[in-house]
């Protein structure tokens, strides 16, 4: 009986191809939009998550706001202040540094490679694990003794030395106006999606790590304090407490101190994505509503056109339920077809967009199933009234219908 109904519905839809297609348009557009938004949202979220994984989800920073009118020298942080912050919040802060980095030219004979060196403490890898492929990371004595040691990324090492395994090799570069020899103690490898690399914007120069005691001088001051919290820290509370402490330290109102965490920023982006999704989702919902009404309208027409058929079926023994199911199957199938076409349309659009933007697009299969299922439900809902009109028709009246 189900197969019978499906094939009847299929025939009815095919009998009026153009009309069925036009009727489906609302559903096609609505579902297409839903699929596209869902895919864009998922892809963006993936991208952010990737990017933040690179940056570190437990990362935070605190500084005097850029927007203050009266910038003072004391707004900068000294190394001593940084150490004090780490002491005071030691139960919550695992790692702290000045986030110093410097772009320099490394020279090895005739090879010259531009490097972006990040000044770090020896326990940096505790908070940002690195895949060391040769040698080791900077150790405590490197940092405490301000040794001219560096750790390079493998592709940078290849550029500078022609081989990734360059542990023990030396090169020259100019830091703080002094040209000196530096030694490679380790090489690491990093996988980064091209999109993230583009977002982080260091596509041009190679990267590497150097003790921050080498990169900066002991009496340098820094604009911001960069830190990683211990696992399980409430980041929101930490930023609030940091803000309060730094405000007191710098003698400024809390409103002039900026403290932000990666989680906060990700939350903000998520919220923005959510707002966008909600707006386009609203449009999709209206489109589905209009599509549903279109289906209802065409089903009313169909029921009227087929009044005589309904009469014949009833005379031959069809019960209310039989006619009801017949017409509901038809409207559900029509709507589900619209949904399937919409899914194809939505995915194609997103794939084309993704190709143009060189972005990997994720389409969640659950969303597809949900979209098609939901469109079938729309069909059933809006088919209810026409179907019940057909099902409750009086057989004699229906048979007499011209």
């Amino acid at each position: 009986m189900l197969i019978e109904n499906m094939s009847m519905a299929f025939h009815a839809i095919r009998a009026n191809k153009m009309r069925s297609f036009l009727t489906m348009l609302g559903i096609i557009i609505g579902i297409g939009a839903v699929i596209a938004i869902a895919a864009v949202g998922d892809s963006m979220r993936n991208l952010f998550t990737d990017a933040f994984k690179d940056v570190g989800l437990n990362r935070a920073a605190v500084m005097v706001s850029w927007e203050v009118d009266d910038f003072r020298m004391s707004d900068q942080f000294t190394r001593a202040e940084m150490d004090r912050i780490k002491d005071i919040f030691s139960d919550r802060i695992e790692y702290i540094d000045s986030n110093a980095s410097n772009k320099v030219e490394a020279v090895n004979g005739r090879r010259k490679v531009s490097y972006q060196f990040q000044g770090v403490d020896y326990n940096y890898t505790d908070v940002q694990p690195l895949d060391i492929v040769y040698g080791r990371f900077l150790n405590e004595s490197d940092v405490k003794g301000a040794a001219n040691h560096v750790v390079l990324e493998d592709k940078g090492a290849i550029k500078l030395f022609g081989t990734a395994d360059s542990v023990g090799r030396t090169f020259r570069m100019t830091l703080n106006k002094i040209t000196q020899e530096y030694k490679v103690v380790g090489v690491y490898h990093k996988d980064m999606s091209p999109m993230v690399a583009m977002m982080l914007g260091n596509g041009q120069s190679q990267s590497g790590f150097i003790p921050d005691t080498v990169l900066t001088r002991s009496n340098d001051t820094f604009q911001a304090v960069n830190l990683y919290s211990r696992n399980g820290t409430n980041m929101r509370q930490l930023t609030v407490d940091l803000k309060q402490y730094v405000a007191k330290l710098k003698g400024r109102p809390e409103s002039e101190i900026m403290a932000m965490s990666a989680v906060d920023q990700m939350g903000t982006m998520d919220a923005q994505l959510g707002t966008m999704s909600a707006a386009v989702g609203g449009i999709a919902a209206i489109s589905l509503l209009v599509g549903g009404i279109g289906i209802m309208n065409i089903m009313m027409v169909s029921v009227t056109e087929r009044t005589r058929e309904i009469g014949i079926r009833k005379a031959l023994g069809a019960r209310t339920k039989d006619i009801m199911i017949q017409f509901l199957t038809e409207s559900a199938l029509m709507s589900a077809c619209g949904g399937i076409i919409g899914v194809i349309l939505g995915i194609s659009l997103v794939k084309i967009g993704g190709t143009l933007l060189k972005m990997t697009v994720v389409v969640n299969p659950a969303v597809i199933v949900l979209a098609v299922g939901f469109s079938a439900l729309v069909g059933i809902f809006f088919g209810l009234y026409p179907a019940s009109k057909a099902a409750n028709a009086d057989p004699i009246e229906a048979l007499r219908f011209e």
């Binding site: 009986m1 014949i312 079926r313 005379a315 031959l316 023994g317 069809a318 019960r319 004699i396």
Partner: protein, 264 residues
């Protein structure tokens, strides 16, 4: 096997009495809102199993009204209608559907086949509503189409068939669930003489095989095929006479059929 698959309340009691149709003081009034039109007035009528009956009368005399009641498409306003032992007066619309499905085969003046649906599917339809399985349905539909002389036209759509052929599909469909009663409201009204004779021949044959057939007609020629002629005037039964069927010999039937197929 397609008879009584499930025991539904309407045919739980197996009635095998002689009277297939029994109308007792049956009144049908059409309430059009402003005025009430009397369709049938106190009709008492009994039709036994195996009878071949013609219902005649002028236009507006109540023939179709009677057929609608007999066919359980409509319920009497007053009085009783017993079909195969079932009092139809108290049945719900869905119960009436089931009664129609199992007890009655309809043949209409305007064929009433479902358009864009093959002859085979049309014949299968009553069996579909009786929940007969696909295989049994198709097999029986083919047998029936063969029997009405359309063995080569299973897949034809109604609009690819002549009037006479369409009516034969309709008859095959009426026989699908082996109903005890065949009701035909002016089955030859839209056909030429040759096709009309063919159709009436088919009914005669069904009657000879034991079916109960009730035919509404305007034409004396058509009524002449039957064995009993009941006449109506202004909603009242005015005469009920026995008739000696016109065609009696096999030979005559064959010649008539040949003429029919020439005109097809």
């Amino acid at each position: 096997m397609w008879k009584k698959k499930k025991s539904q309340p309407v045919h739980e009691t197996e009635y095998m009495g002689e009277d297939l149709i029994k109308l007792v003081d049956m009144v049908k009034v059409y309430d059009t809102g402003t005025i009430k039109v009397l369709g049938l007035h106190r009709v008492n009528l009994t039709i036994k199993r195996g009878e071949f009956v013609a219902i005649m009368g002028q236009s507006g005399s109540g023939k179709s009204t009677l057929m609608n009641v007999l066919g359980c498409l409509d319920r009497p306003t007053m009085g009783h209608y017993y079909l195969d032992g079932i009092d139809t007066a108290n049945l719900e619309p869905d119960e009436l559907s089931t009664v129609r499905n199992r007890k009655i085969g309809f043949v209409f003046q305007s064929f009433n086949l479902i358009s864009r649906t093959s002859a085979l599917k049309n014949v299968e339809l009553p069996m579909t509503y009786a929940h007969v399985n696909q295989k049994a349905r198709e097999q029986r539909a083919k047998e029936l189409l063969e029997r009405v002389g359309l063995g080569t036209r299973y897949e034809h759509m109604p609009n690819e068939l002549s009037g006479g052929q369409r009516q034969r599909v309709a008859i095959a469909r009426a026989l699908a669930n082996q109903p005890p009663l065949i009701l035909a409201d002016e089955p030859t009204g839209n056909l030429d003489t040759a096709s009309s004779v063919e159709i009436m021949e088919l009914f005669s044959q069904l009657h000879k095989e034991g079916a109960t057939v009730v035919v509404v007609t305007h034409e004396e020629d058509i009524a002449a095929f039957t064995e009993r002629i009941i006449r109506f005037r202004d909603g009242k039964l005015v005469s009920d006479t026995k008739n000696k069927p016109q065609i009696q010999t096999e030979e005559e039937a064959v010649t008539m059929q040949k003429e029919g197929s020439h005109a097809d």
